[in-house]
Symmetry: C2
Subunit: 195 residues, 2 copies
DNA sequence: ATTATCTATAGATCTATAGATAATGC
DNA sequence: ATTATCTATAGATCTATAGATAATGC
């Protein structure tokens, strides 16, 4: 069987990592614990030594799905590359991201289901929304911090909405039009007056 | 028992109407057929004389959840009231809409789940996205039709994303900030160049 | 001795169907 | 005769738990 403490930690991370991907692909109710454990090479009985309940897994897996941007931006920065807002926009609003929700943004894949989840999941989500607004704001050219924050909130909202809609429609041309149009306008928009 | 043809039509509409509301509140997997039929004052066995399958109900109920804007805009117009884009923005991005998904926009309540639904549901969704983009475009002041369409797509995306995020976070202040900020910027934004 | 994982299963769902019942509508 | 709805249930889930097994780690 094999079960050292180090092994358990690795197993735990593997379960969370798989769940995090599958939740984004199939939704928070998209599969059962047995199916998940099988993909992790385990059986259903072991699950509850890792999590108190299924909701516990949801909270942890959703939270681990967040923060992809920050990791990529940090990686790019430490690699010496400049990280422009235009690059972030193109990195988000494209067909590859649309077609691979499992490794993509958790908000555009799950926001309405998170809204119906328990308090813990929504608290962790609040924290991450705050972080991501902050992250986008630092990439914007606006000198005024409040202006940058406002524009970051609009940018983030447009990201999530455009991706949600682009995935929901079956018409490929319309889907691409949504992604392309929103990317273009976000790169060029300026508020008529700052607030 | 009672079952004239007229009665059946009314029953059918009642089932769809309840499902349409509950899907937006609880998600497409949020309740079973027995629970739904009970709320409609019926029992589970009658369901399949109305729908070939549960997915059939999903397609019909989701579709009936769309078009709320058009109905309201048309009503306002025929009532002689002017329908400005500012009014539409305030009508969408507010806390009352956020707290009552059952009677609100189906996209912000269900987009990611629709993305995982069958072809028929997604086809009907495409149609409605097209209609709503068109509707918003006609309310925008832009003379150039392509500019109006582009701005309508951004506005629509920002609506759906802002509402999805405002519902997903548990922090009330952050939630309100998202709605208010996006509403304000949408009222004032102008593209630096039209495309 | 402790515990990570396994097998097996209880109990509660859920979708869909079969067959009975009672009304409509020819 | 047809059919809208009912009761009852088959068969397939799904979450969570009980108890066995086999490894770790004192």
């Amino acid at each position: 069987m094999g079960h050292s403490k180090a092994q358990k930690t690795r197993t735990h991370k593997r379960i969370v990592s798989i769940a995090s991907k599958r939740f984004r692909e199939k939704g928070l109710a998209g599969f059962g614990i047995a199916e998940l454990m099988k993909e992790a090479g385990l059986t259903v009985g072991g699950f509850y030594k890792h999590f108190d309940s299924r909701d516990d897994l949801v909270a942890e897996a959703v939270n681990s799905a967040f923060g992809g941007w920050k990791r990529r931006v940090d990686a790019a920065k430490s690699g010496g590359a400049s990280v422009s807002i235009a690059k972030l926009i193109d990195d988000y609003l494209n067909a590859a991201h649309r077609d691979d929700p499992g490794t993509g943004c958790a908000f555009s894949a799950l926001a309405p289901e998170i809204a119906r989840s328990d308090k813990r999941t929504r608290s962790l989500t609040s924290e991450q929304v705050r972080n991501d607004i902050q992250l986008i704001a630092t990439l914007l050219p606006d000198k005024d911090k409040r202006t940058a924050r406002s524009r970051a909130i609009l940018t983030f909202s447009a990201f999530v909405g455009a991706m949600s809609l682009a995935r929901a429609v079956s018409d490929e041309a319309l889907s691409r039009e949504i992604l392309k149009t929103v990317a273009e306008l976000l790169k060029n928009f300026a508020p008529r007056h700052s607030t």
